[in-house]
């Protein structure tokens, strides 16, 4: 599936919820299903700066697609990164670079998009895209 299709799917899922509580409960569930990073990659180098909780992300190229794994010590943060990874993992670097992230707004997590927000959603998106740029350069 393309990134846009996955994003629409996520938006559809979140539209079923009436209130924030259900959205957060779902996000916590998603956090529990996050494809976890191998402990070997849980290094300081892989920590995303700008988060109040710790977030580690690892990326590797399999064939022409980028596979992300991650972890966090906070469960809501894990849920947010799980949503991002579901949209961006197993995609071509070029598509990741070009993807827009408007869907975060549509699923009612707009407040997390503020650059001053301590969870660093913006930093996470930036980091995923940076990985994509790095691997795209490698492919070229």
């Amino acid at each position: 599936m393309e990134i846009k299709e996955i994003q629409n799917e996520i938006v559809d899922e979140f539209s079923m919820f009436d209130d924030w509580m259900q959205r957060y409960e779902y996000m916590i569930e998603l956090g529990k299903s996050l494809p976890l990073i191998d402990d070997a990659y849980k290094t300081d180098d892989n920590i995303i700066k700008g988060c109040q909780s710790k977030v580690w992300v690892h990326a590797e190229l399999q064939d022409d697609k980028l596979i992300f794994t991650a972890d966090s010590d906070a469960i809501i943060t894990k849920g947010i990164i799980a949503i991002l990874i579901r949209a961006f993992s197993n995609q071509k670097p070029k598509d990741i670079i070009e993807a827009d992230t408007h869907f975060i707004d549509e699923i009612g997590l707009k407040e997390h998009l503020s650059p001053t927000r301590a969870n660093g959603l913006v930093s996470m998106i930036k980091q995923l895209k940076l990985y994509a740029v790095a691997y795209q350069t490698q492919i070229n």
Partner: protein, 404 residues
Amino acid sequence: MLDINKIREDFPILKRKVNGQPLVYLDNAATSQTPKQVIDVIVDYYENYNANIHRGVHALSQEATDKYEQARIKIQKHFNAAKTHEIIFTSGTTHSINLVANGFSSILEKGDEVLVSAMEHHSNIVPWQMLCKRTGAVLKVIPMNQEGELLMDVYNELLSQKTKLVFCNHISNALGTINPIKEIIKKAHSVGAAVLIDGAQAAPHIVADVQALDVDFYTCSAHKVCGPTGVGMLYGKEEWLKKLPPYQGGGEMIAEVTFEKTTYADLPHKFEAGTPNICGGIAFGAALDYMNSIGFDEIAKYEHELLLYATQELLKIDGLKIYGTAKNKTSVISFNIDGIHPYDIGTILDKLGIAVRTGHHCAQPIMDFYKIPGTVRASFSFYNTKEEIDTLVSGVERARKMLV
């Protein structure tokens, strides 16, 4: 007894809603809310006598100067300083500490020692580290126990003829511990060391009498005592303030300037370069008036009740642990729940309209001491109620159920 409902009427912000819920503001240790009596003073300043001070011959300038200097006297009286010019207006506690640290650059020598407590805010650590780097002095730490109390016997051992400065907060922002500053000051003086007490967290709860304490420097910020942000004060004994060189150069702090030489103004202006936060200074005075009209004894008594009640109720929650259990503490509760990150709890509480602080509270060494990433911190003020504590407790319980 305080009439809390009447007091709450003074704070317009307490009526607002957050995320559709009535605001429960429990982040008072970060900043206090502003009563309309202080807001009115701010509005009055800009509507009626906004002008630059100490310079103009015109009426507005004179009026603003008078009000600003009256505020200085209010602050002097509040802290019982011997002289008005021992009160320096600053932008806040951080500025005050940097001013003193900078001044000691020319006094400290290589091998001198400075002592700092283990429970300091970063703003009372970093300026001293920078000072030590500049001068070659050595920074030593007064350790604390698991309850969050300073080990006074170790402090005694650390003190020596080499000790030139001791820094300590009056009350810890992360743990709420009230430190035995009178004893700390007395012992430091017995070896000839000067003492700076960071009163940022103490000012909203306790009135420090700087003469009775015999403290060399005491600082606080207006925004923790119902005043505006961006203004605070440094108290310094006259002999020290005369000894320290100016911190920043500019207008206001000079007596005479030629390109060859500048002579500095007398105290307090020597340390007040540039146009100050005039409105902020005046509002700072009004904020102290407001708090004194309520009465610090009554405030302390009521906040202690809130602390006991909140402690008792929070501890009923499964897996909840409180950090900072000193015998002598103010209305600050830092806590975690087993297996849950403080950030997650804070996020859920925010959704419920409850404002708390999460994270390391600018006191990473304390978090390292307890080997935790941070805590959730609820801090109570005299305008908070037991009902709000009930809302907090049920919110934390709800968060716990969602997050475990």
